[in-house]
C-alpha cells in the first residue's frame, strides 16, 4: 500500500516587537517572523535612542566629555567615565596617583554590583512578568541596589550619575567612616542575592525556562565580538581587567568567572558569581587603600585646562557588560577631533538574531534579557 505524505505549509506571521514593548529593555525593535509560536527569524532594528554622543563629544572639551559619557551606559556610569578619562590620560601622559586608582577600582566594582543586581531583577521580571513572582525578586534586588546608591550619594552627592572620575584622578575622596558603611552595604547585597538564589535556583520553572535556551557557542561569540559575561558564559576566559589591567586591578586578587554551557542559565550564573567577586574586590580596595592625593597635580579646574597632544589612542575597560573601548583622535586642542566608542551592548546584542531561531516567542525576551543590552549604550 502506497503511503501518502501530507505536507503542511504555514503562513508566516510577522510580529513587530517594540520599540514600545515592556520587556525590550528600552527601545529595541525586533521584527519576529513566526510560525505559530515558533520563531523562524528575528530582524533587529536599533537606533531609537541615538543621541549622537560621539559627535557631541567633539564639541565639548575633554573635561566636559567625561560626565557626558556616563549617560551612555546608565547602569554603570563610572565605567564610561573611566574609559574617557583613561583615553585622555594615556594620550596626554598624565599619571594617576595610587589612591585615586584604588578609588576608581572601588567605584567601578560597586557599579558592577549595582548593574548586575538590576540585570538579575529585570531578567527575572522578563521571565515572571511584572504581575508575578518576577516582580517580587525584582524589588528585593532593587532594595539591595539601593544600599549601593546610598553609598554613592554619600560619597559623591549623586545617586545615579556620580560624576566621580575626572582626568588625572577622582573628584571626591571618601567621607569619614565610609568603610563601615561599604561593608554593611556589601553584606546587604550578599544576603539579598543569596535569598534570591534560594528562591530561583532549583525551582523547576526557572530551570526549565533557562537551561538549554539560547545557547551561544564560543566560536560564534568570538566572531561577532561578544565580551563580558556573555562571552565568559560560553567558556572563554577573557576579561579586560586581567588581559589589559588598568588602574589598580593588577594588585587585586580575583578570578575570571566562567561557565561552559553558554545558555541563558550560564549567563545568569556568571553574573551572580561576579557580584560576589566584585564585592571581594571592593573589600580588597578598601583594605589596601593607600594615603595620598586623589588627583594629579596641578588639579584640573577649568573646562579647557586639559590639552592632549596630537595623536590617537584606544583604551578599553571592563564594564558590567563587557569590553568598553574608546578610540580617540586628537588634533592637539582641548577637544577631541573624533571619538568612537566600542560599546559592549552593541556587540553582544548582535547575538540575538542567531540565538532566537527555533525558540518560542516567550524565549525572545528571556534571551534578549540575558544579553543585558542597555540601549543608551547600544545606540549612543
Amino acid at each position: 500500500m502506497a503511503t501518502r505524505t501530507l505536507e503542511f505549509t504555514f503562513d508566516e506571521m510577522r510580529v513587530n516587537m517594540g520599540p514600545q514593548h515592556p520587556s525590550t529593555h528600552g527601545v529595541f525593535r525586533g521584527v519576529l517572523v513566526l510560525e505559530g509560536e515558533e520563531i523562524k527569524d528575528l530582524i533587529p532594528h536599533i537606533g531609537y535612542l541615538h543621541r549622537g554622543v560621539e559627535k557631541l563629544a567633539e564639541h565639548l572639551s575633554y573635561v566636559q566629555d567625561v560626565p557626558i559619557m556616563a549617560r551612555n551606559d546608565y547602569l554603570g556610569p563610572v565605567h564610561n567615565e573611566l574609559v574617557m578619562a583613561h583615553a585622555v590620560e594615556k594620550l596626554a601622559n598624565i599619571q594617576v596617583p595610587e589612591r585615586a586608582q584604588y578609588l576608581r577600582v572601588m567605584a567601578s566594582e560597586l557599579h558592577r554590583i549595582a548593574s548586575h543586581l538590576v540585570w538579575t531583577g529585570t531578567f527575572l521580571l522578563d521571565m515572571g512578568g511584572a504581575l508575578g513572582g518576577g516582580s517580587t525578586m525584582f524589588l528585593y534586588l532593587f532594595q539591595a541596589r539601593e544600599s549601593i546608591m546610598d553609598l554613592y550619594e554619600e560619597w559623591t552627592g549623586a545617586r545615579f550619575h556620580p560624576n566621580l572620575v575626572q582626568i588625572g584622578g577622582v573628584r571626591f575622596d571618601l567621607p569619614a567612616g565610609f568603610d563601615r558603611k561599604v561593608k554593611e552595604a556589601l553584606q546587604t547585597v550578599r544576603n539579598t542575592v543569596n535569598e534570591v538564589r534560594e528562591m530561583v535556583e532549583g525551582n523547576p520553572v526557572f530551570e526549565q525556562r533557562t537551561r538549554g535556551v539560547g545557547v551561544l557557542s564560543p566560536e560564534l561569540a568570538q566572531s561577532i565580538g561578544c565580551s563580558g559575561p556573555v562571552l565568559r558564559a560560553s567558556g572563554v576566559a577573557y576579561d579586560v581587567r586581567k588581559a589589559f589591567p588598568y588602574d589598580a586591578y593588577d594588585k587585586m586578587d580575583f578570578e575570571i568567572v566562567t561557565a561552559t554551557a553558554g545558555d541563558v542559565r550560564a549567563r545568569y550564573e556568571v553574573r551572580i558569581n561576579e557580584i560576589f567577586q566584585a564585592a571581594h574586590i571592593v573589600e580588597q580596595a578598601l583594605e589596601g587603600l593607600p594615603e595620598g592625593p586623589i588627583g594629579a597635580k596641578p588639579p584640573v579646574k577649568a573646562p579647557v585646562a586639559v590639552k592632549a597632544p596630537k595623536g590617537e589612542v584606544y583604551f578599553r575597560v571592563e564594564s558590567a557588560r563587557g569590553e568598553l573601548g574608546a578610540y580617540l583622535v586628537s588634533d592637539g586642542s582641548h577637544k577631541p577631533y573624533r571619538l568612537k566608542l566600542r560599546s559592549p551592548s552593541f556587540s553582544n546584542l548582535q547575538a540575538i538574531q542567531h540565538l532566537v531561531r527555533g525558540h518560542k516567542v516567550a524565549d525572545v525576551v528571556v534571551i534578549l534579557g540575558s544579553l543585558d543590552p542597555v540601549f543608551g549604550d547600544v545606540d549612543r
Binding site: 520587556s23 509560536e37 515572571g128 512578568g129 513572582g133 518576577g134 517580587t136 520553572v205 525556562r209
Partner: protein, 319 residues
C-alpha cells in the same frame, strides 16, 4: 412568587460578588505589597487605602472607549460580556449555608464545570476581533490552555463526587461532616493539589498566566480594550477567581461547615484562605513557557489525576 425570590437573591448575590471581587483586588495588592517588602495601596481611604478599588473603578469607567479601526466590531464588542457573565452564573449553585442556595441543582458540579468553561469564547472572540497579532497569539494560547487544563480540573473535581456519590454541591458539603476531602489520605491530597494547579491555569494566574504574559504579549487578548470593556475583562477574571476559590472550599474544605462561627463566615474564611494560597503562588514563581505548560499538563497532571480517580473509585467499591 418563587421566581421573584430567586431573582431577588440573584441580584443580591451578584452585587455582593462584584463588591467582593473589588476587595479581592485590594487584598491582592496588599498581599503582594507585603510579600515584596512594601506597603501597597495606602492613601485612598483610611485605613490602608480601602477605597483604592472603588477609585480605580471610577477612573477606568471614565476612560475613552476605543474601538480599533480594523476591528470586527460585533465580535469585539460582545467579547467582554461573554468573558464576564459566565463566572457570575456560578454563584447560583454554591451553598452558602445549609438552606441558603439560590438553585439547588442535583447536578451542581456539572453545571459549574460547564459554565466556567464558557469564558473561553469571550477570549477567543476578543483575540480575533481586536485585529491585533498579540491578541490573536494570546487567544490561541488561552484556548489551548483552557481546553487542556479542563481535563485534570474535571478529573480531580470528580474525586469528591465519587466519594460522595452525588453531584449536588450541598450533598458534597454534607459528606465532609467528619473529615474534609482535602485531608483524606492520599486520594484527597492529590485531588486537592491537582485541583489547585488546574485552577491556577484556568484562572490565568502565574505561573500559568501564559495568555496574559505581559512581558512578551503585552497583556494578551485584552490589549486593544480600554475603558469599561477592559474593566469587564478585569472584573471577570476576579469574579472567576472568587468563584473557583469558593468552589475549592466547597469541594475540598467542607464549604460552610465549621464549629461556633456562622456558616457564611466559615465559607468566607475558607475562600479567603484559598484565594491567598493562589496569591502566594502567583507572587513567588516565574512563568512557564507555553510548550512546557502543555507538557506539564498532559504528562504529569492528567495521568496523576486519572490514577487518583481510579483509586478513589476503587476505595468506594471495596469499602
Amino acid at each position: 412568587m418563587k421566581w421573584l425570590l430567586v431573582a431577588f437573591w440573584s441580584v443580591v448575590i451578584l452585587s455582593v460578588a462584584l463588591l467582593i471581587a473589588a476587595y479581592m483586588i485590594w487584598w491582592e495588592r496588599k498581599f503582594a505589597g507585603r510579600m515584596q517588602r512594601r506597603i501597597g495601596p495606602y492613601w485612598v481611604g483610611y485605613p490602608h487605602g480601602w477605597l483604592q478599588s472603588i477609585a480605580d473603578a471610577i477612573k477606568i469607567l471614565r476612560k475613552e472607549d476605543i474601538i480599533p479601526k480594523n476591528a470586527d466590531k460585533w465580535v469585539y464588542n460582545i467579547a467582554p460580556f461573554l468573558f464576564m457573565v459566565p463566572p457570575m452564573f456560578l454563584f447560583a449553585v454554591f451553598p452558602f449555608s445549609k438552606t441558603w442556595v439560590v438553585a439547588d441543582l442535583n447536578v451542581g458540579l456539572l453545571y459549574v464545570l460547564a459554565v466556567s468553561s464558557l469564558g473561553v469564547f469571550g477570549v477567543m472572540m476578543a483575540g480575533w476581533g481586536s485585529h491585533n497579532k498579540y491578541a490573536l497569539l494570546s487567544a490561541m494560547r488561552y484556548v489551548s490552555q483552557m481546553i487542556s487544563y479542563e481535563v485534570p480540573l474535571v478529573l480531580s473535581a470528580l474525586v469528591p463526587v465519587v466519594l460522595t456519590g452525588s453531584m449536588n454541591l450541598g450533598a458534597i458539603t454534607n459528606a465532609q461532616k467528619g473529615l474534609w476531602f482535602a485531608l483524606w489520605p492520599v486520594v484527597g491530597w492529590v485531588a486537592f493539589v491537582v485541583f489547585l494547579l488546574a485552577t491556577l491555569a484556568e484562572g490565568n494566574r502565574a505561573p500559568f498566566d501564559i495568555p496574559e504574559a505581559e512581558s512578551e504579549l503585552i497583556g494578551g487578548f485584552a490589549v486593544e480594550y480600554s475603558g469599561w470593556k477592559f474593566a469587564m475583562f478585569y472584573v471577570g477574571e476576579y469574579v472567576h477567581l472568587l468563584a473557583v476559590s469558593i468552589l475549592a472550599s466547597v469541594l475540598f474544605l467542607g464549604g460552610w461547615r465549621g464549629p461556633l462561627l456562622p456558616p457564611l463566615l466559615w465559607l468566607f474564611i475558607k475562600t479567603v484562605f484559598m484565594y491567598s494560597v493562589l496569591l502566594w503562588i502567583r507572587w513567588s514563581f516565574v512563568r512557564l513557557r507555553v510548550d512546557q505548560l502543555m507538557v506539564f499538563n498532559w504528562k504529569v497532571l492528567v495521568p496523576v489525576s486519572v490514577v487518583n480517580l481510579l483509586l478513589a473509585a476503587l476505595w468506594v467499591v471495596l469499602r
